[in-house]
Symmetry: C2
Subunit: 436 residues, 2 copies
């Protein structure tokens, strides 16, 4: 450890490791793509360092993990709000999406990556159309990503019929096999847009390739009511019957759950993505997250697409998650700050099957690290780092971000993207969308 | 209008005037402390201007109004969270407050002013101890403020017995009479900490001086239950019986209301301060704001103190308000973006009795104006300015702020405060608080 690539010094380290270590006056060393050591500043006095990053008394913590988004929906940010769900979808979002192409998805995802890096996200899980372009954009931005083409039983603007959707997915898996940043997932949209055959095939393909399986489940009460009426089962119960509840399944939303649904999620070690701001804005309801966590279900945090949010700011999502469950249960002790930070870091990594390489600051893990500048009026004074991260820190306070050992943002400057060009490109795309 | 003090050009103006005008490529002229004219850029081609502010395509709108806070609680930001209400108050907040003095309140309020200006707030309404120091701090920061000493029936660390509290309040009223920025209010804490005599005297003093009257009302269900058990009336009904429901009364929180309470608020033209994030974090409940607005009650928005939030960011509060009521009523059409912007601007001004001088951009009103930089990744593209302000704009996007014709922030630099000194001072105060 005599020659280090990067040394971050002079910060409070929230390791999020199994012991929950918080290290005052900490330093963390990066060699290649890995965390080489985590310690105090005096542990690194005699080392040679290629790049020294001074945290200036700020917080050093694992990069945040966005377990559910549709990144390219940046193109539709604020296109339509405050409408009934079906009006919003049928009159605004679906017509806009019918104009999508791979270039728009690429540009929209680059913009999403810029916004996500700026809010401390180092890894995201995406479901959308033209996901080959999403993988390319994430790679360009140098972000860690789990991406998968959305699969359903009607013709897709990208791949056409569903058989081609599976072929497209398996081709992506081959293309990106072994990539250090990109993981391809199999992503059937939902139990209500996918046949039983599609769902079973998706599960089989995911298991064949050891790929994550991602789906929307029980996002609204009406989805559950429809499922009960048509199938006599809740969406979770129905997936259980099909044998699709698997440890590599990430179930997004899980708002309208019954106690026996939670039991099934736990029994089969299914992971959950919680998207509080989207669930609020679309008036879907409040997911029973404190109950799920109590039962031992792994829950990560997500922003959802930014047509229903309208941003990709996981720090804001953390604040909202902490407060929403308190008011929903009329209990200020639920969803404490530390448990919310867990959701956004190590539990998020576990939700994506990536807990071996990211989600905490431990020697040997990949170097996905952010530095938060705490020298701001709205962060003074500081009594507790966990409290500040959840209730006070904002996206603009994230100063530096390292992903897989590469510095992608330093002093709030994005190093992997030409942000002016990306913004111009998405502005041009929005002109086309406006013309509809 | 040949020589202007300030001209802001090249922005989209949200006037929030009675016609709801939105002016593309707008300009706004400031002469002395007033708005001299509002128009398009071509209306101001031949004028001489002392200070030209280029909005660079951003948004120009009225300064935001924080109708309820305890500014100096910045000193306790994140001191204790996620606790039962009585543990939080009795074991953490009250012991910390017992150490307060005028210097701490002054410093804490300066820090609050810095944070508020940075999030676009130009006017706030405060209730706390040592409010003379709050008025001094607001004046130093050059913010518009309604301030009033909290009055209750036990000895105050500031004024001692309640008679001295009224004397202190009336002395403040005399000191600040005619001040262009500071308005002194009469502020009994709540129906549960104030006797009937205190409440009636407070109302009488407020009417004698034409001062605002500010009180906490029906913040929790348990407060209402206790009131019903002890007085046989809801807190609102009780205040009605006492003759304290007046048009100059600002009732803060109003979470636990019955339909007949809303009827009384409307009947007596009582104003309401809505504090969604504090109500969520303390698990108080959800105020029936859509119902109040439907009935014609004037509702402004507030942050509450930042021990229960933990910030003074009204933009975040706007986003939360829009989303919270949607999920609470399971209706995505309630609390639309435009109505939320009304709450944070002209309705907030009305709540404080200041609608004649602030809350909208109209010729002759005082110049309380903010400029929001829209050239940011998370604000691209823009389809609707109202949507963006509520769902996407963040505190750091506010670039420039003018209060009463004075530029208090330009390009995110605070011009009235030495922010490094203020932060150091509050950090020193936090050391004392930690020692308890």
């Amino acid at each position: 450890m005599e020659n280090l690539d990067i040394l971050i010094t002079n910060g409070t380290i929230l390791t999020m490791d199994p012991d929950g270590r918080v290290i005052e006056n900490g330093s963390i060393a990066v060699q290649g793509d890995q965390i080489a050591a985590v310690g105090t500043s005096k542990d690194f006095q005699d080392v040679h360092v290629s790049r020294l990053i001074d945290a200036r008394g700020g917080l050093i913590m694992p990069g945040l993990i966005n377990t559910h988004t549709h990144a390219a929906m940046t193109c539709f940010r604020g296109l339509a709000d405050d409408l009934p769900l079906m009006t919003w979808l049928n009159d605004h979002i679906f017509p806009a999406e019918s104009k999508l192409d791979a270039h728009m998805v690429y540009s929209g995802t680059l913009l999403a990556c810029a916004e996500m890096i700026r809010s401390g996200i180092t890894c995201f899980c995406d479901m959308y159309l033209f996901e080959g372009a999403v993988a390319d954009a994430a790679k360009t931005a140098a972000m860690r990503a789990v991406v998968g083409e959305v699969l359903y039983d009607f013709p897709s603007p990208n791949y056409g019929p569903i058989e081609a959707g599976f072929a497209y997915t398996e081709a992506l898996i081959e293309t990106w096999r072994g990539d250090p940043l990109i993981t391809i997932a199999v992503e059937p949209h939902s139990p209500y847009l996918c046949s039983a055959e599609l769902l079973k095939q998706a599960a089989a393909v995911s298991q064949k390739h050891g790929a994550p399986l991602v789906i929307h489940v029980s996002e609204t009460q009406s989805e559950v009511q429809k499922s009960m009426a048509e199938k006599g089962r809740t969406p979770v119960g129905y997936l259980s019957d099909l044998g699709v509840l698997l440890p590599n399944l990430l179930a997004c939303h899980c708002v309208a759950l019954r106690d026996d649904d939670i039991f099934l999620l736990k029994k089969f070690d299914v992971k959950v993505a919680h998207n509080p701001e989207s669930n609020m804005k679309l008036a879907s309801g409040v997911a029973p997250v404190p109950d799920m966590i109590k039962e031992g279900v792994c829950v990560g945090l997500g922003t959802d697409g930014c047509a229903s949010n309208n941003n990709l700011d996981i720090l804001s999502e953390m604040d909202t998650a902490a407060k929403l469950h308190k008011v929903n249960l009329l209990d200020p002790t639920v969803m404490g700050a530390e448990s919310v930070v867990h959701m956004a870091t190590i539990q998020g990594a576990r939700a994506l099957g990536l807990e071996g390489i990211t989600g905490s600051l431990e020697t040997g893990k990949k170097a996905d690290i952010i530095v938060i500048d705490m020298d701001k009026p709205h962060l003074v004074p500081m009594y507790s780092p966990y409290s500040h991260i959840v209730y006070a820190v904002k996206a603009d306070d994230v100063a530096t971000s390292i992903i897989n050992g590469r510095v992608v943002m330093e002093d709030c400057r994005l190093l992997t993207l030409d942000i002016e060009a990306v913004m111009s490109d998405v502005n041009r795309i929005s002109e086309k969308i406006r013309e509809r």
